[in-house]
């Protein structure tokens, strides 16, 4: 009977086992699997960045991570001496890591592949050399504020690297392994592997040669004029492709955490603030008072509205009184009697004040909106600054007068060049951009980026008249120094006084385009706080002339034998 009872109990337990191992099997296996499985990621290679001609300007370099595994080390002393010598580390620090009882202790990261291979070649027990990718920029500081750089996890931090993170980063692969209770991977255990997908290569509109030349030109003028900063934007006015965006001083993308200059004496800014300052892209992140270059917009609005014609005459006594305010022209004695065209060539403030007043606040505001000056340009870079403008209800005639020649409001250099592009390209508001296409590493999938274009912000006729006016500015007016023999160049100078006015600091700028009758390229230079002569026409215009002289033939725009500028002019 006891025997029977025992057997019954055992049969009962068998039933329990059956329940556990058949019906609950899935549940417990899953829980066990969750417990055993360890994931190890295989880093995906980050996509490269290529310029418009296919030159690689951001790529990956293989670097090594050196780590030690405590319980695989057989000769700690040898490991300590070998590693500290090879890596140039304090023997004491290495020893600490070698003697630490842990699954894996990292001794050094971002070690050059050559050195890593050499350490691996010594076959030290318990020393592991893992390969990893690190971002590498072959051209160092070139277009640093545009390209941006990546952080410790290879993630984009600023610039295009962060904007196109989702395209560039790829998908990490996985190695699923089984581990014991201590977390040590089991050798020869069943391994699941998910292959990493490398990030897509990004082709951008930047032209390495133009960028390089523009950077040299910018550096040269910055040194000559002991300026704080110089920015140059070169773009195609027809479609908004940015060919170059220089902001000197640039910083070294391969070493982005080292300041490119000594912090100013007595500066209380933290290191991080200084770094952020260094990484800033003033061409899009900072706004300024555009000054006379903005007369392009006022002129276009006046022509479009029909309130002014080229041969309308104005008189400039050297100032204009608006309400109770006396607003001076830059020429103290005044320009006297002049046509609108001459006023534009002279960059005469009273002429543009008059045009502004003829438009009135409402219409001026309407064109300001129509030209797309409010808000942002929509460029594919992070942190673009928006326009700072008077509220319509706060805008009186005095404000209107100052806005008419580019003061008392702020826009980014990029906003200015984009709006100017749209006015001279026949009236199509383009979206400035860098990215042209993203293609998977094996070239099987290609994504072409497209950008919105708003057509008809000015009529074709107004556009043509504007091109004529601006060509005249360069050929005979204040932008003379930008003229190039054999080329039809259009442009406008500006000298803006920085706020507060009492500091007498200036931003000199020049915006030029070529060929004037069919613009293929437009460039804007802003020189921040030049010393000595600070007139845009004197110091900024020659830089653009020099730039154009070099890049126009490169872009396939040949010089003409004769100047036939006015031959085809059509009045608007």
């Amino acid at each position: 009977m006891v025997c029977l009872l025992s057997c019954l109990l055992m049969i009962g337990l068998t039933g329990r086992l059956f329940f556990l191992m058949v019906f609950r099997s899935q549940h417990y296996s899953q829980m066990a699997e969750d417990l055993h499985q360890r994931e190890r990621t295989i880093k995906a290679a980050r996509g490269r960045i290529l310029d418009r001609n296919g030159t690689v300007i951001a790529t990956n370099r293989t670097v090594c991570t050196i780590s030690v595994i405590h319980n695989q080390i057989t000769d700690p002393d040898q490991v300590v001496t070998a590693l500290s010598e090879a890596l140039g580390l304090e023997a004491e620090d290495v020893r600490k890591k070698v003697e630490k009882y842990s699954a894996r202790e990292i001794v050094a990261v971002n070690v050059d592949k050559k050195l890593g291979d050499e350490i691996r070649g010594r076959h030290l027990d318990g020393v592991k050399v893992d390969e990893d990718y690190k971002r590498y920029y072959p051209y160092g500081s070139l277009a640093s504020k545009v390209l941006g750089f990546t952080g410790g996890d290879n993630q984009g931090i600023i610039g295009l690297e962060v904007k196109y993170e989702s395209y560039l980063k790829g998908t990490n692969g996985l190695i699923l392994t089984q581990a014991d209770a201590a977390g040590v991977e089991i050798e020869n255990a069943f391994e699941d592997r998910v292959e990493p997908v490398p990030g897509a290569d990004l082709t951008i509109s930047l032209d390495l040669n133009i960028q390089t030349y523009a950077q040299q030109a910018a550096l040269k003028v910055m040194e000559e004029k002991e300026a704080k900063r110089v920015s140059v934007i070169v773009m195609n006015p027809q479609n908004g492709e940015v060919l170059a965006m220089v902001n000197v001083p640039e910083f070294d993308l391969n070493d982005p955490f080292t300041l490119n200059m000594e912090p100013e004496e007595g500066s209380t800014a933290s290191r991080q603030d200084l770094l952020n300052q260094m990484w800033r892209n003033p061409a899009i992140n900072d706004t300024y008072e555009p000054g006379s270059t903005f007369k392009v917009i006022t002129a276009a609005a006046g022509l479009e509205a029909g309130v002014v014609k080229l041969e309308d005459t104005f008189s400039c006594p050297g100032f204009r009184i608006v309400e109770d305010r006396k607003i001076r022209c830059h020429k103290v004695g005044g320009h006297g009697s002049e046509t609108f065209l001459q006023g534009a060539m002279n960059s005469c403030n009273p002429v543009f004040i008059d045009v502004g007043q003829r438009l009135g606040v409402d219409r001026y505001y309407q064109y300001f909106t129509q030209f797309g000056l409010f808000g942002k340009t929509g460029i594919d870079l992070p942190g673009e600054a928006a326009t700072i403008m008077h509220k319509k209800e706060n805008m009186g005639l005095v404000e209107l007068a100052t806005v008419s020649f580019g003061q008392s409001f702020q826009i980014t250099p990029l906003q200015l060049i984009t709006t100017a592009s749209s006015i001279i390209n026949g009236g199509n508001r383009v979206t400035p951009h860098f990215a042209i296409q993203a293609s998977s590493a094996d070239k099987t999938r290609v994504h072409r980026f497209s950008y919105p274009v708003k057509e008809g912000i000015v009529s074709a006729q107004t556009s043509q008249t504007m091109r004529y006016i601006l060509e005249k500015v360069v050929s005979e007016g204040s932008g003379k120094k930008a003229s190039l023999p054999g080329y039809k160049i259009g442009g406008k100078t500006a000298t803006s006084e920085k706020l507060p006015r009492s500091l007498k600091k200036y931003i000199s700028s020049f915006m030029g385009f070529a060929p004037a009758d069919d613009p293929k390229v437009i460039a804007l230079i802003t020189i921040d706080e030049p010393t000595g002569v600070y007139y845009g026409g004197t110091i900024a215009a020659p830089v653009i002339a020099d730039l154009f002289e070099n890049i126009l033939p490169y872009l396939g725009i040949e010089a003409e034998q004769e100047e036939t500028v006015s031959a085809f002019r059509i009045y608007g």
Binding site: V2, L9, M10, R16, L20, H27, A32, L35, A189
Partner: protein, 379 residues
Amino acid sequence: MPKYKKRSKRFYDYSLLFAIVFLTIFGLVMIYSASSYTAQLNYDGNAAYFMTRQGAIAMGGFVLMIMVSKMDYHWYARFSGLAILVSWVLMIAVSLVGREVNGKKRWLGVGPVSFQPTELVKITVIVAMAALITRIGRDVDRPAGIARAVLITIPLAGIVAANNLSSGIIIAGIGFVMMFVASRKKLIYAGCVALGATAMIFAGPIGNFLTKIKILKPYQMNRINVWLDPEAYPTTGGYQVLQGLYAIGSGGLFGKGLGESIQKLGFVPEAQNDMIFSIICEELGLFGAVSVILIFMFMIYRFMLIAGNAPDLFGALIVVGVMAHIAIQVILNIAVVTNTIPNTGITLPFISYGGTSILFLMVEMGMVLSVSNQIKLEK
């Protein structure tokens, strides 16, 4: 049982012997499988550490078993009194100067040699009870007889239980089963079993009630709670049981194959010990686990045959005692591993790692075989 003076051929239970050898070797294989990984980590890469130790003791035990099986079992009945005395001395000694392992004083040892006296107590109780019941004869159902049996078993079970509750339960269980078999008033015992089973079923509410009136300590109540829902206590009390259940559950019908367990890699604590059955389940599946249970059932069947045909009551009772011992341990062990009863440390006979255990089990088997050897086959 009528006795014939005729000299007849003696019986020897080779089936049982085969089952013992099979289980022991199977046990060694499983110990190697379950312990090789941790042994390798803890004993300088000696993966076979536990297996070789167990194997050596099992070999010694096997020789001892053969010797005991060839002795007349009546001979050592005379030492039952002495055995009780030795048991008491050792148990008191272990309580005072025992080696502490995991907070429990269960080991008595000199130098490298150490053993668990509780195993000796089990064999002592079997022999002593068999001797007592044979001596008192019909008194077994009278209060005086019961009192004498209780006097031998319970105090010993008590002192064992003080440090090792499960062994105490086993010892009391052995005594209980032997009395039950000898007794003619089986209803009383059946009643006791029924009562115990009911208590088990309603353990949760009863435990709560007892905790409320402060008979049960909170940590004991905690064990019951863990038993009722181990997944709610994955890191505290439920860890061992839960890891065992993971192992059992991952086994499925045919298991992962010998040596393929993952739970033995440090997840199931001391996988070669109490929890070895879960590793058998994981590696050999339901098929393997049921096979093991069937072999134990076969063993119990052999015990029953031998007890039924034993030449005298004393021999029969010894076999019953051993059977009770094996059956209780197997049932409790599997019940614990499958979380059918609250967790308590009980080894699986012949298979779990434990030198003392295998040695005394071999001696017990020797005793059973010697009883079988006294059976005279009629021509």
